[in-house]
């Protein structure tokens, strides 16, 4: 039989049609899609025992309670702690991916000097030499920690000076500290008892203070209601996240916050809306109206609204004394729902010095924001877990990263009550990193160790027998049998919270209306974030969506 070209074509067509009726091509198609899901270069999560630990975030001064999911010894998930009395389960957006930070490409893992690799021995020798030649200035980014006590003790022993870089929130409290003599670290806002909050540009709903404290409060008492229990009035030049959710947004010209404060003070005094007698600002209402872009009637209306629903407290974005003076006039200082003084049970806290005596060596703790650059000719020794770039001079010393350091978490700035907690070292730090306190202890072994200071603080709090310990359930501190048991509970992730602040304490009197300072914009959680880098997943916020603009100088 002759096999023709026609037979070949018919046979091929038949075979193709027949093959399509079998499961083979469909099976192959499916298998190909499965094979292509399993390339060897696809990252695989760590495998191992899974456990959950409760501790505290130390990446900013907020000290949020966090639940860390660990697998094979690595942190693989972070969520908030619902029963934390202050943060109530909330975290800043970056906190949800903070476990990525320790593998950030800019993680510091070697000593650097002038941009070149160095060693710890060289750094130590250089620091001791500089300290021998003149005074040392030790700069802390977060006061009140056990590590702060060690840093201050070193500065004192070497006849040096100890300084603290204040956050924007603490700067806003500085005028009251100046007028009353109460340390700024002991002042806070009693927001929970306020019924009207007037914010002059403070990003209250965007990470101000401890993330979660105000957002939860606003959510429970203000969100979505036309006449809420808590009225938030936001005075700001642009429609920020806080302004957009406020009960009332008052758009004013940028930089005219102090002028408006003076105008409001004038109305409060002229219309006898406040009981206290304060100094009358020199600016007339017409001048204020012209400079702020509001009408005189709008300013009068705002002043009336401020006192309509008391207690009222005014919050500034920074240390503008003209805005702070409004609280004095409104009687919101040392009053429930206003500016309060915390009890401060811990006596042995490091107090910063104001004078900066020309030092020979400057030591910057890893809590100091990367953007802070001391203007000095002295040799700078900066501890940092991540290299924020641009540091070509001085020493760059690798510090422990996220969850790598055992430390205490004192009261957050702006808090109305004292709190105390202990953050655990859940992740083993690499051998090449050292904290500033470890570095100083190697130079001077007579300094107190951080663990020892934490233990002493726990004893001090236990002796005071005040406040509650928030673990799974709130427990009175008086129920603990010993200071050791109390400390043990803190090491398990509990937080100690003092009772409500005592009334009185802060006495501010104004003889004349204060001159205003130039107001800078309030910061949000992104700026308060101590590391100069962001977790890799921050690209979701800055690159893969239009939600936020990438902050300058920070890299995901």
């Amino acid at each position: 039989m002759k096999f023709s070209r026609r037979d070949l074509l018919i046979g091929s067509a038949g075979a193709t049609a027949g093959l399509l009726l079998t499961p083979v091509p469909w099976k192959l198609l499916g298998d190909v899609s499965i094979w292509t899901q399993n390339w060897p270069w696809i990252p695989q999560p760590a495998r191992g025992p899974v456990e959950t630990k409760q501790t505290f975030c130390t990446l900013c001064a907020g000290g949020c309670g966090i639940r860390v999911r660990m697998a094979a010894g690595y942190a693989v998930g972070i969520s908030g702690v619902r029963n934390h009395p202050i943060t109530k389960g909330a975290l800043c957006p970056l906190g949800f991916a903070a476990q990525q930070l320790n593998w950030h490409p800019q993680r510091l893992r070697e000593v650097r000097h002038g941009g070149r690799a160095g060693s710890w021995a060289e750094a130590q020798a250089a620091f001791e030499k500089a300290c021998g030649e003149g005074p040392v200035a030790v700069i802390d980014g977060r006061s009140g920690r056990a590590a702060s006590t060690v840093l201050e003790a070193f500065a004192r022993k070497r006849s040096g000076s100890y300084h603290v870089v204040l956050s924007a929130e603490s700067e806003a409290l500085a005028p009251y500290a100046e007028w009353s003599g109460v340390p700024v670290t002991a002042l806070g806002y009693d927001l929970e008892n306020a019924r009207t909050i007037v914010s002059f540009g403070a990003p209250l709903l965007d990470g101000w203070g401890t993330p979660g404290r105000f957002t939860r409060l606003w959510s429970e008492r203000a969100a979505g209601a036309s006449d809420p229990q808590l009225r938030l009035i936001q005075i700001e030049s642009s429609l920020s996240r806080t302004a957009g959710r406020a009960w009332q947004w008052v758009p004013i010209r940028e930089g005219s916050e102090g002028k408006l404060a003076a105008g409001l003070a004038r109305v409060l005094l002229e219309e006898h809306l406040v009981s206290s007698h304060g100094p009358m600002p020199q600016l007339s209402l017409a001048e204020v109206a012209a400079q702020t872009g509001l009408t005189s009637e709008a300013i009068r209306d705002l002043a009336r609204k401020m006192v309509e629903n008391r207690p009222v407290v005014v919050i500034a974005a920074d240390g503008n004394p003209a805005v702070a003076a409004l609280n004095v006039l409104l009687g919101a200082v040392a009053a429930p729902g206003g500016i309060v003084q915390r009890r401060e049970h811990l006596q042995a806290q490091a107090r910063p010095q104001a004078t900066f005596v020309s030092p020979r060596a400057v030591l910057l703790d890893s809590t100091v924001p990367w953007e802070f650059a001391p203007q000095t000719d002295a040799e700078v020794f900066r501890f940092a877990a991540w290299d924020g770039g641009g540091n070509k001079t001085g020493w760059l010393l690798p510090a422990p990263g996220f969850l790598e350091e055992f430390t205490d978490v004192p009261t957050a700035p702006t808090s109305a009550v004292d709190t105390y907690a202990v953050a655990l070292s859940l992740v083993t730090p690499s051998p090449e990193v050292k904290s500033a306190t470890q570095f100083l202890l190697e130079i001077d072994p007579s300094l107190p160790a951080v663990e020892k200071v934490i233990h002493l603080r726990c004893e001090e709090l236990f002796r005071a027998r005040q406040g509650m310990v928030y673990a799974e359930q709130p427990i009175a501190i008086t129920t603990f049998a010993s200071a050791e048991k109390f400390e043990e509970q803190l090491r398990k992730g509990a937080v100690w919270v003092d009772g409500p602040p005592r009334p009185g304490g802060v006495r501010c009197e104004l003889k004349e209306w204060p001159a205003e300072k130039v107001v800078s914009h309030g910061t949000n959680w992104a700026a308060a974030w101590a590391p100069p880098v962001f977790p890799a997943l921050a690209t979701k916020l800055y690159q893969e969506s239009n939600l936020r603009e990438a902050p300058a100088g920070r890299q995901a």
Binding site: L29, G30, S33, I34, T36, Q37, W41, I42, P43, P45, A46, R47, V50, R69, A71, A72, Y74, A75, V76, G77, I78, G89, L91, C92, P93, F96, A97, Q99, Q100, N102, W103, H104, L205, G207, T215, R216, W218, S219, A223, G224, S226, L239, R241, T242, G244, R245, W249, P535, A536, L537, A538, T539, K540, L541, Q543, E544, S545, N546, L547, R548
Partner: protein
């Protein structure tokens, strides 16, 4: 187990912080963006849009709208077009499931989805060296070339089911199954639960007079509801594409 899981998102409470986006990505091992990725090519199973009312000055208002897979219950568009049966509606939970192992990457489902809630994985998932140790071991990493979307944190549902089974129960404890976005929301704007359960808070929220669904007129019965007292925000829900162009995306 028989449930109809869904969400109610209160837009008057959303501050646009982005915590839901971050928590979602971390929970589901979504990789960070490669340098070339944009808002169009990125992977954001939960994406918060910032929308303004178009006014300027003191009259300007903004709203943040978290958009995720709507888990459509009727004629689910992505299910009906998928040639690989890589998408299916779980009858026991109402969750629209995406199976990357079956996905060929044809992207028909992306075209069919009226909410643009599906994303194509354009690049190999990559993290900086060592960072893979921070990945969630409960969720597999997906390969490039497949479509991804929200699956209501299905790994968490599995954990809750395992826990219930170990305790000899047939139903899960609702407290054991909370998606990452709801858990992360600092203002409680996201409410998740069983829409078929009249005692569930999400049921009453979905039936409140202020609740609405995006593009409800299409009849796909989305299981993600939104809530707002503001009339201009509610009006956004039914805007067609021409109107959407007029609304100013900031």
């Amino acid at each position: 187990m028989s449930a109809r899981y869904g969400m109610v998102i209160d837009l008057d409470r959303c501050t646009g912080c982005g915590s839901c986006m971050m928590a979602c990505a971390a929970e589901n091992n979504v990789p960070p963006a490669p340098p070339k990725a944009t808002t169009r090519t990125g992977l954001t199973p939960m994406l918060v849009h910032k929308v303004s009312n178009g006014a300027e000055g003191a009259a300007k208002r903004e709203v943040f709208i978290p958009v995720t897979c709507m888990h459509c219950a009727n004629e689910t568009p992505c299910v009906s077009v998928c040639p690989q049966q890589a998408v299916e509606v779980d009858k026991a939970t109402g969750i629209v499931m995406q199976m990357p192992q079956r996905c060929l990457g044809c992207r028909y489902c992306m075209v069919a989805c009226p909410y643009h809630a599906r994303y194509f994985n354009w690049w190999d998932p990559a993290w900086p060296a060592g960072m893979e140790k921070s990945l969630n071991p409960g969720v597999a990493v997906r390969m490039r070339g497949v479509v991804e979307k929200c699956n209501l944190c299905h790994a968490r549902l599995h954990s809750a089911m395992e826990k219930a089974t170990a305790a000899g129960k047939k139903e899960i404890d609702p407290a054991d199954y909370i998606p990452a976005c709801m858990e992360a929301c600092p203002t409680g704007a996201i409410l998740f639960g069983n829409l078929a359960d009249k005692d569930d808070a999400v049921y009453s929220a979905a039936h409140s007079p202020d609740a609405f669904r995006l593009l409800a007129r299409l009849g796909t019965e989305p299981k993600v509801y939104y809530k707002s007292e503001q009339a201009w925000v509610k009006a956004l829900a039914e805007r067609d594409s021409d109107h959407a162009k007029e609304s100013k995306h900031v």
